[in-house]
């Protein structure tokens, strides 16, 4: 497969194709939690943003979505703002998207927007960078989108993350949804997913 380099003057056609492809993978990931997908999108976001995290935020954010960056991800904020037009969220609770580059210092999940009982969709989608993701491992996922149970391995999350995740899951229909990203790979955890550690 050869990478197509498009001059910026080429217009919208190729970004449209790329974002369709990334969105479709994000939809697949969200619909089948724990499925590890790899993006083939050609993208070189500034450190510490991974290719997967860059592709997701460029596909989903725009001037209508506030994006919050943790301290470690600040260096990528200008890049994301330039390409999406997304305003910065001053508070985690205001964010439609949150980019967390230092997953060991992840703010409590309850600090983000959890939506309301009437509008549980008004909640933050987190993009959390981790060291690695694998379709095998000690975690056992179940819930909508999963036939039986699905294994998952994740390295680089704070030890109490899964405890927090249980609390998040129990708050359904309120709660955050999470993309875990590592290099070109990502996996989604919608709030419906139960994770046994």
């Amino acid at each position: 497969m050869t990478a197509l380099t498009i001059p910026t003057a080429a217009g919208l056609a190729e970004p449209a194709l790329a974002s369709q492809r990334v969105f479709r993978q994000a939809l697949e990931a969200m619909a089948r939690p724990g499925t590890v997908v790899g993006t083939e999108i050609v993208l070189a976001p500034p450190a510490p943003l991974s290719r997967a995290a860059g592709a997701l935020i460029l596909t989903l954010a725009d001037f209508e979505t506030l994006v919050w960056f943790d301290r470690a991800a600040q260096s990528a904020a200008d890049y994301v703002r330039f390409h999406t037009g997304a305003p910065l969220a001053a508070q985690t609770a205001d964010a439609a998207f949150a980019i967390v580059a230092d997953s060991t210092n992840l703010p409590p999940l309850t600090a983000f927007a959890l939506g309301t009982d009437e509008y549980p969709d008004r909640s933050t989608s987190l993009i959390v960078e981790v060291e690695s993701i694998a379709g095998t491992g000690p975690l056992m996922l179940s819930g909508p989108g999963i036939l039986g149970r699905r294994p998952l391995g994740v390295h680089g999350l704070a030890p109490d993350f899964w405890h927090q995740w249980r609390t998040n899951h129990r708050a359904f229909p309120r709660g955050v949804d999470v993309f875990l990203t590592a290099g070109a790979r990502f996996v989604a955890l919608p709030r419906t997913t139960t994770v046994e550690t």
């Binding site: 197509l4 449209a16 194709l17 969105f23 479709r24 009982d117 009437e118 989108g145 229909p173």
Partner: protein, 308 residues
């Protein structure tokens, strides 16, 4: 996405040059895509979205078209069905629309499609994991017949306050000896939200349960998107003493002999003679190709098609 976006794609061989992407502008697609992701994360919950005006009257399924347009890509194969048939004016027009604005391939075969946009039926052929079923929804709110005020139905969903609806259904049972509602029969998704399955016959309701495919619902006029993820529990509302049942026919399909499909009654001559045939034309044709025959395999020769 502005023109200088660094998002690039390594194209698959054969990608059409100058591919024109799916009618909706990128901003509208992003808004719908965000709503779709939340819809999948909250099964059965209606996510509001800002619908854009489409060059079609609402009855045409603008909600379904907007969902399809936000999801579809060059690798997809699109099938469109209307009342089970691929050859109605509606279905043909929508297929042409996407062929024109997105250049995608289209099919009438359920098994060959990656995206199936539907009005009023779920295909008889079981769906697979690589498929997305997009429903056109006229009235997304399953509690609307009970409560006209949006703020009130939203509150009822928020609190899972569905008692009044169950009482109402039960009264119907008491009156008719059964639940009279034959279409758009409400379901409970993943043990939480009550959801309208769109005006499919309740015959199709069991297909929503634990389906390997992703099911997306778009309501254009009311600007709502909702979803059922794959392998999700979907239960048709019922009562212990009146369990949910689906329509049954005394006859088999006159063309293919199927006894497991939803049948339409069709008048076949000017004498008013009637036969029952599969509503799902692809399913019926497929069975006939496999050699199955009904009692009157040529019944529709004069009318040329199984479409009612």
């Amino acid at each position: 996405m502005n023109a200088s976006s660094p998002l690039q794609v390594a194209p698959a061989a054969g990608t059409t040059e100058g591919y024109n992407f799916g009618y909706l502008d990128e901003q509208t697609k992003r808004m719908i895509r965000r709503a779709l992701l939340k819809a999948v994360a909250i099964p059965g919950y209606q996510v509001p979205f800002g619908s854009r005006e489409m060059p079609l009257p609402y009855g045409w399924g603008t909600g379904g078209i907007q969902v399809t347009a936000s999801v579809i890509g060059p690798a997809d194969v699109l099938k469109v069905i209307d009342q089970g048939a691929d050859d109605t004016t509606n279905a043909v027009s929508i297929r042409k629309f996407f062929n024109r604005v997105a250049g995608v391939r289209t099919t009438e075969k359920t098994s060959a499609a990656t995206i199936i946009q539907t009005r009023h039926r779920v295909p008889e052929t079981p769906l697979a994991e690589n498929q997305i079923l997009v429903y056109q929804v006229p009235i997304p709110e399953p509690l609307r017949w009970l409560e006209a005020r949006e703020a009130e139905t939203r509150r009822m969903h928020a609190l899972a306050e569905y008692g009044a609806m169950r009482v109402n259904l039960y009264e119907e049972v008491a009156r008719y000896g059964r639940i009279a509602k034959g279409y758009d029969y409400p379901v409970e998704v993943n043990g939480r939200y009550i959801m309208s399955p769109s005006p499919i016959p309740k015959f199709d309701n069991p297909k929503l349960d634990n389906n390997p495919a992703l099911q997306l619902f778009g309501a254009g006029r009311e600007r709502r998107i909702y979803a059922i993820p794959p392998y999700t529990k979907v239960k048709s509302l019922d009562f212990e003493d009146y369990p949910f049942t689906v329509e049954r026919w005394a006859q088999a399909c006159a063309l293919c002999g199927a006894t497991d499909s939803f049948l339409d009654e069709v008048i076949v001559d000017d004498q008013g003679a009637r036969v029952f045939v599969c509503s799902d034309t692809d399913y019926c044709e497929d069975r006939r190709k496999q050699g199955f025959r009904g009692a009157a395999p040529d019944a529709l020769a004069a009318t040329a098609s199984g479409a009612s």
